[in-house]
Symmetry: C3
Subunit: 222 residues, 3 copies
Amino acid sequence: MSQLSEREILDRLRALDTSELSDALDRHGVAGQCHGLFPVDRAMHFAGQAFTVRYGPAGSPPGDVGDFIDDLGPGTVVVLDNQGRTDATVWGDLLTSVASVRGVAGTVIDGVCRDSSVCVDLGYPVFSRGRWMRTGKDRVQVEAYQAPVSIGGVRVVPSDYLIGDADGVVVVPAGEVTTVLASAEEIRDAEQQIRKLVGAGARLREAREQTGYHRLQSRAEG
Amino acid sequence: MSQLSEREILDRLRALDTSELSDALDRHGVAGQCHGLFPVDRAMHFAGQAFTVRYGPAGSPPGDVGDFIDDLGPGTVVVLDNQGRTDATVWGDLLTSVASVRGVAGTVIDGVCRDSSVCVDLGYPVFSRGRWMRTGKDRVQVEAYQAPVSIGGVRVVPSDYLIGDADGVVVVPAGEVTTVLASAEEIRDAEQQIRKLVGAGARLREAREQTGYHRLQSRAEG
Amino acid sequence: MSQLSEREILDRLRALDTSELSDALDRHGVAGQCHGLFPVDRAMHFAGQAFTVRYGPAGSPPGDVGDFIDDLGPGTVVVLDNQGRTDATVWGDLLTSVASVRGVAGTVIDGVCRDSSVCVDLGYPVFSRGRWMRTGKDRVQVEAYQAPVSIGGVRVVPSDYLIGDADGVVVVPAGEVTTVLASAEEIRDAEQQIRKLVGAGARLREAREQTGYHRLQSRAEG
């Protein structure tokens, strides 16, 4: 199999939804489904490669909350691990505005964001545990850039692929992306075939059997 | 009182909202308010009779996740008891598509659904504890069809009536539906009368007293 | 500084968002950010002075659930402390209708509301922990009017200022409102200046430094 370009990978990922990718992850035994993270608005979706930031409680004196956005661009998703905290935000309107102008793919936070209406107005995808207005400034601080982080129970390392839509966020490890893409596309094609059969009058049970659908979701044999 | 047809019952239930039905359930001492279940989209609403499915953790080898939709139709609501699990879905886009074409009234899940944007696009009512993209396949399996189930803390048996709107889901036991309907309609009429009095300048307190509103919500004397 | 009129205060509060006010509260060491309370619809916002009601579990026989709305009007926000309960509502469609007609600024509930679609249809702002359809009647009762209450972890006394938008609710104590307003407006102006600099090509880091933005959010020195 020839090497895919990053651009080609992102284009193919964007043509899939998180359900199809999740089934493909299951098939290959990869636990990449982030629990509890949803878009600020249901219509938001993205695909990108991770730039990771890990936060921890602020020390004394408190460290800074991150000045990293000026160097990011298209194809990158900002991945912020704030340990699931819902009491201190690490993303707000200034970051949203700059990220949106720079064409950043989106932001995924294991924590909360603020100025949520600006994300909606600009159509900039933010996925989080929710929203609040209280800043993380003097409450949390950056502990590491581009280190492994934990997002909704899933390990993310820099350059992993993240994809988000109304049903949440999935992580595809960079080393598995070619395999997972192929399986997800096979699943999508089978589902389209099932829809065609059902549209022509078949029972769902028969259409699923005929296309071997259930087998596609199950763990591939070793 | 002459026997009502199922169609007549559903028509009258659809003309009520869950608040009115909840007050009527209170009046008759019936605990039918499901806690924690909401529509995927606020505009969704339905009334139907329960077809129940009970799920449990998958065994080894795992059992199937259910092929029942081909035999259901209008007037039926699919009621899926997945024990409140938020980590494994039991409803997705293929089921939504077939249910929508077959005119099924809606789906109520004590658990989560996936492909939520398809429900919204098709206007098919799904009520659940939320959404995620990870399949229940190989994680849960059907334990029983048409057995008693637990939905948001409420017992549901096959053919019970379920009604859902923006405020959640209520269950009216089939044996109580005539009585509950009559009380709910009495409450609705009193509220319309209150709105008329208030619109004509009455104070809310007086309008409530004049119509005996508070009495209508209280437990009827034995 | 000359005394501001209540009307002038409310006009200036309405021109700010909860993030700006939250940063100003932080600056003055005031813990006024209510946790876990959000609008029924993202577009809702309000500013008003608190009329407080404290609820407790219903006794035997149960007390009443409150008849207070007839005497409230513009500039007032109804603040209902139902101890965070999600199993019994203290606000519904009749109260929404009357409050809307009377021009009440909004309702904030540490608990849940019902008839949520009426709030949305009338554009009447309700902020709560969520929604359900089961009445508080015979489950809770009013314990006190115009007493100190606890809302999302924040103490509210009558006539305190509450402001709500998509990111939640903040409380500004009446005695601190002039100081907090001035700081919040200073923060807003700095953010507008940052947006201008970034729009003209500056890096976000430089724009923040140039305007002294981070200093504005930090606790003022004693």
